[in-house]
Symmetry: C2
């Protein structure tokens, strides 16, 4: 039950597969928050969002770039948001897309999973540097208490994601090779739910490839971005799930967190409504 | 003369092609520094290294992972090191291997190049997400004052780097496709020196591929890791240079920064000697 895969399964069974992406952009904050210094403002807003969406999602995905944009103060805000999310019972995915080799990869993993640093339940990682660059992340995830997880970029949701990911080698697109490597790592960390600790990022904007990967990787958790603001629909993401309703968490960032104009007085109610709608929509097909 | 490529050319002409990698690991610091809290210790040590190596190198490459490992305090140390390096006249390459899409990529680039954030002259980026993920970095680099540069991962120095990078599609390895994309971006930002602002990371540990890429990408700056502690020699990196002695900066991290045991009293002299030796060795063949 402490396995990462099982903790994620528990969250999805309880609250559905919605993952709320925390991408705080100062310019889009409610007017009352834009009066504060940017670091304070994005921290306070993100903490408020965590409370508002908690009834509708069991997973959150803070995006490191929007915190790093504000320098050390932003990183301090990120730490506060990560810790509060854990306290509220969310499974946390730190979306930092890290990737490096050997002891450098280990340092990133120690930062991601360290209880005194970001304390993430899972981290997104980039596979371009190869197996010996992903393995230090896998090792650190498994050494942590409780064990943590990874989501490796396989097929990303952006329109140009196929430029290298779809390059065909011996008739097999690169992303399928990356997917096969993910499955190998993942099989070393299966939980009681039958899924493992090395997941794959697969965009909702490529439903055909999502379906193929679901069939090819039956024990791999998928993190599915691209639903909502990027154009993916609830029907598009259906192919990412296993028959038992597990296997995927579906991220919505702007669609849930910024469904209001900066001067709207009722922004809290709009976030609650957007989260509720996304939860219902994603639970519907299952 | 303000073009990134020209600022880098000026540094290489003046001080040679050595780039010193700043990878501060608390456990390896001199005994006198390990008495301080980790964030203070790695900041003070890194600032000292900048002063010690300044006569022997015009380029430094702080590694974000080792700062992030210490959380917000570590990021504060990184900011201090980046700013001081600029003040000392170094061209700074922030080795963070960032990669994301659209406005998220822009946020990372704003962090890297923002004068109030990391203020890097150049950033390393990961190409796996495709062209529309690299272009926001290119746009931000060119919008900055002075203009900044990028180094895109093409062929990394780790033993397993070929797993995906060497995947053959239509007889062409993936890293050559990435290299071709780099050349296209780079040609939009050429300086007076004839080189451009979108460079390539090419490991010293693959001298044959380094030579091929040098021939294929005559206007692209190379950042060459893997010299020194990772096994690449001065002879191995020779193929990365153009006949005029420009075209490559060669990174050494541990070999220059940690040539001592933690209890050595003469650690400063050992860093100076290591930097001097590396400068002479890399200038020798040119």
């Amino acid at each position: 039950m402490n396995a990462f895969a099982d903790r994620l399964a528990e969250a999805v069974r309880r609250d559905g597969p919605l993952c709320v992406g925390i991408d705080p952009r100062f310019d889009m904050l409610p007017a009352s928050y834009r009066k504060f210094p940017p670091g304070v403002a994005i921290e306070a807003f993100s903490l408020k969002v965590l409370e508002l969406v908690r009834p509708f999602a069991g997973v959150v995905k803070p995006q490191a770039a929007f915190f790093e944009r504000l320098g050390p103060e932003g990183m301090s805000a990120m730490q506060s948001v990560m810790w509060r999310a854990t306290e509220l019972g969310f499974v946390t995915i730190l979306d930092a897309k890290r990737g490096d080799i050997a002891s450098t990869a280990t340092a990133y993993a120690e930062a991601a999973f360290g209880e005194d640093v970001w304390n993430a339940d899972a981290l997104t990682v980039n596979p371009y540097l190869g197996a010996d660059a992903v393995e230090p992340f896998v090792n650190e995830a498994r050494k942590s208490t409780p064990p943590r997880g990874l989501f490796v970029l396989v097929r990303t949701s952006n329109p140009g994601g196929g430029l290298f990911q779809n390059a065909l080698a011996d008739g097999v697109p690169l992303y399928r090779r990356v997917g096969a490597a993910v499955a190998d790592w993942n099989d070393g960390g299966l939980g009681d739910c039958g899924l493992g600790d090395v997941g794959a990022v697969v965009g909702a904007t490529h439903p055909q490839e999502l379906a193929e990967l679901r069939a090819a990787l039956p024990r791999v958790w998928f993190l599915v971005p691209g639903y909502g603001a990027q154009g993916g629909t609830a029907a598009d993401v259906r192919a990412g799930f296993l028959p038992n309703g597990l296997g995927a968490v579906v991220n919505s960032s702007r669609g849930v967190v910024f469904p209001f104009a900066p001067d709207d007085a009722d922004w809290e109610a709009k976030i609650v409504a957007a989260a509720q709608r996304a939860q219902a929509e994603l639970r519907g097909p299952l």
